[in-house]
């Protein structure tokens, strides 16, 4: 690994060094953010195709036939094609959007600034981490263009389907191999990122930045990095075993005597459940990898625009830590259907309920922060409030799914789809929107348009509830998930109008995102010039120019004298005390 000599105070010259293979954490953060934006466009398009197919399963669409000559012969989507769209939608959204933007995107940009450091601890590793993620995305997307198309096994890649090769269906050949390779590369990238986040937060904090003065965003990025570190290592190990089963003839996950397409397979003795354990040991913490940074942003934004200190800062920190810890003990609640011992199921269920405690602490503290506040309803604030709303809604349905007896009924229905989209998908994305509107002035030196932002918020907020709330009712009515066509079943046919409504809502919600993209790119060039601290916020990023110079603090070394959320302190000259203000600012 050869690396250039780095001068902390001079920005590199030249386009490639500055914008492509940049070592600057801010540029890398933006690169991650745009990688996620690109991915979310793919993921969203796939979901629209799926929603269209569900309500028009027999429609002949000419361009389907052009795009997929074999999988959509005559313009009619095959069930296999539907499954591969579902797999790629889930995989791209979970890995390249929800894991990438909140943590690697915003975290890279703002963690070093918020702790008063000039850069991440290992800039070269940071750059490699981004380009490795980029490579993983290329490999993943290339699965669309190989023979057989993308895999069918879902984002969870359950064997035997994912392990026995082309025999299991189109896409299970090269497509599935590319999927595993991409995930393995992604694991490596996450590991590099985690090393950087953890070392930076522990060792590069500026003078006075004690752990209990860290903004809550930093706490969530830190805990998320730990989760990613421990989780992705296990996923990588599981992926290696899966590759060996696929290509080396081993039988880790493939049971004996398996009859597939009239052929008895040569494998014996493996256990598909072994994969499920390893996968969900990663998979459940992954949920928190997606949502924790959103919680951090929400705390930051709520406190800023409520002009009040965050209610119960220490309790928030301990809640973040205990969510991270408990997140590793509950993977079994994804496997209640697997025939596990009821005693294990009971234990997993109790631990799952236990996560409700720190989650409730966080929610009550957010409400406590808002209580009696003179709230400034900026777009960032609206999205943060939306986050709280979605977090509560999605969390409540989680209580149902955490009961083994209820999960047996709900597990393969749309109830689960509604639940995880609410909490892991949309809530996390609202966290990203809040972060975007909150930090955009710092990142680009211009303000985003608030009117467009608010229209975007209200339509999106109503839209996502319109898409995902009916899914809970469908689930209770017994509508199975993963089916591509409901018209062949009497009881499901009657539910089609609900699906039709959800599809319309999805079109509308997707369409309004154009407004967001327009606002984003338009404001970069034409937005109102942003002052250093447009929100009158307290943390360190608001002490530096917008956008910050290459070494963040222009050669200065910030000294922190205050906690992160000292708003409306009695006796202080302003309604906020910056972290770098002199210690006796409110003594006058």
């Amino acid at each position: 690994m050869s690396s250039p000599i780095i001068h902390a105070h001079h920005a590199p010259q030249g386009f490639i060094r500055r914008w492509v293979f940049s070592l600057d954490h801010k540029v890398i953060g933006i690169q991650y953010y745009f990688l996620a934006l690109f991915s979310v466009l793919i993921g969203m398009s796939l979901s629209l195709l799926m929603r269209y197919h569900m309500v028009h399963p027999d429609a002949k669409v000419a361009w389907f036939a052009k795009l997929w000559p074999t999988a959509a012969q005559g313009g009619i989507m095959t069930p296999e094609l539907y499954l591969s769209l579902m797999t790629m939608h889930g995989t791209i959204m979970v890995f390249f959007v929800l894991t990438t933007a909140p943590q690697s995107g915003f975290g890279n940009y703002f963690l070093p600034i918020q702790i008063g450091a000039e850069d991440m601890a290992f800039p070269v590793l940071n750059m490699m981490s981004f380009w490795t993620t980029f490579l993983a995305l290329i490999v993943m997307v290339s699965a669309f263009f190989v023979q057989g198309g993308p895999p069918l096994a879902g984002w969870t890649g359950y064997p035997p389907l994912s392990a026995i090769g082309p025999l299991a269906g189109p896409g299970e050949g090269l497509g599935q191999t590319l999927w595993i390779v991409s995930i393995a590369i992604f694991c490596g990238a996450s590991l590099m990122g985690a090393i950087n986040f953890i070392a930076t937060l522990i060792d590069l904090r500026c003078q006075g930045m004690s752990l209990m003065r860290l903004p809550l965003t930093c706490w969530t990025w830190f805990v998320t990095a730990i989760l990613g570190l421990l989780g992705f290592a296990v996923l990588l190990a599981a992926g290696v075993l899966l590759v060996l089963d696929r290509s080396a003839g081993t039988s880790f996950f493939i049971p004996g005597g398996l009859l597939v397409s009239d052929q008895i397979l040569n494998h014996k003795g493996g256990s598909p459940l072994l994969w499920q354990h390893l996968f969900w040991f990663f998979g459940h913490p992954e949920v928190y990898i997606a949502i924790l940074p959103g919680m951090g942003v929400t705390s930051q934004v709520l406190s800023t625009f409520a002009r009040k200190p965050i209610f119960g800062y220490r309790a928030m920190v301990y809640a973040i830590l205990s969510i991270g810890f408990l997140g590793f003990l509950v993977w079994g609640h994804h496997m209640f259907m697997s025939g596990m011992s009821p005693y294990s199921a009971m234990a997993f269920s109790v631990l799952t309920m236990a996560i409700g405690v720190p989650s409730a602490i966080k929610t009550f503290n957010w409400i406590g922060t808002l209580w009696g506040a003179k709230i400034r309803f900026t777009t960032a604030m609206l999205f943060a409030l939306g986050f709280v709303s979605l977090f509560v809604t999605g969390g409540l349905s989680g209580i149902f799914l955490g009961q083994p007896a209820l999960d047996l009924y709900f597990h393969d229905t749309y109830f689960v789809v509604g639940h995880f989209h609410m909490i892991m998908g949309v809530a996390a994305i609202f966290g990203m929107f809040a972060g975007t509107f909150y930090w955009f002035p710092k990142m680009y030196g211009r303000m985003m348009n608030e009117t467009l932002g608010k229209i975007h918020f209200y339509v999106t907020f109503v839209g996502v509830y319109a898409i995902f709330t009916p899914m809970h009712y469908l689930g209770i009515a017994g509508n199975p998930r993963r089916y591509s066509d409901f018209t062949n079943f009497d009881f499901l046919g009657k539910l089609l109008p609900v699906h039709s409504f959800m599809t319309q809502a999805a079109y509308g919600t997707a369409a309004i995102q154009i407004l967001f993209f327009f606002n984003l790119f338009w404001s970069m060039k034409y937005g109102r010039k942003a002052p250093i601290n447009p929100w009158n916020a307290t943390t360190l990023e608001w002490t530096v120019p917008s956008p910050p110079p290459f070494d963040n603090f222009g050669g200065q070394h910030p000294v922190v004298n205050h906690g992160p959320y000292e708003y409306s302190v009695p006796g202080a000259p302003r309604d906020f005390i910056m972290q770098t203000d002199p210690p006796d600012v409110h003594a006058e």
Binding site: I5, L23, N196, M209, S210, L211, A238, S251, G269
Partner: protein
């Protein structure tokens, strides 16, 4: 420090003026911060490696327990010799570090080179173990026990290879008299990593002997 494994650490900020302000472990103190960050980064890496091998181990134990097709693998005898070689190499590195602490550069070079050569020897020995198994008709897919043996030795071997790269790098720097104070971090980081993969190998041996 072009080419150093720790060279991508940014130039740390100047030492703080005056006393600390209750930074609780925070605060940057000159080169110390970058050295600490390297050590923290290493510990994080080791944690991840531990998790990956913990996952392999749990797969190993579960896979052995759930079916009756497991046939105990006759461990190639050379792995015992390999174990001794690896332990000796760790010992050499430790002696080297002690020499460096007391300023005996020549002794450091000698010990460190010995440790590096022994490390390479271990890798060759592992390759020989594979060759022996192959000759006996035991392949990756022959039995789950052999699958795990090949898998775990390969995964461990990759870590050895990574560690060896670091050892060679330090050795080359040392022999070319370029081991300045800034590279002491490289010495410590690579030595700690090496001891870790050494310990990992002992764990794997126990795994093979007890459950294999």
């Amino acid at each position: 420090m072009p080419g150093s494994i720790t060279s991508d650490i940014i130039k740390p900020p100047a030492p703080p003026l005056g006393g600390g302000f209750g930074g609780g472990g925070g605060g940057s103190d000159g080169w110390g911060a970058s050295r600490r960050a390297s050590m923290t980064g290493l510990m994080v890496l080791l944690a991840a490696t531990t998790m990956a091998f913990a996952a392999f181990t749990s797969a190993f134990v579960v896979r052995r327990g759930i079916s009756n097709d497991w046939i105990a693998l006759p461990l190639p005898r050379i792995v015992w010799a390999n174990t001794a070689v690896l332990l000796a190499s760790s010992l050499m590195l430790e002696l080297a570090r002690r020499s460096l602490k007391s300023g005996r550069r020549t002794a450091f070079n000698r010990y460190w080179t010995a440790g590096t050569v022994l490390g390479a020897l271990f890798l060759l020995g592992q390759a020989f173990a594979w060759w022996q198994l192959n000759a006996a008709g035991i392949f990756v897919a022959t039995n789950p026990s052999s699958s795990f043996f090949y898998l775990l030795t390969a995964a461990h071997g990759l870590h050895i290879l990574g560690g060896l790269t670091a050892l060679v790098y330090v050795d080359v720097q040392a022999l070319r008299l370029r081991l300045g104070p800034g590279k002491r971090t490289a010495v410590d980081v690579s030595a700690v990593f090496w001891h870790f993969v050494d310990g990992l190998w002992l764990f794997l041996m126990v795994l093979f002997l007890v459950w294999g």
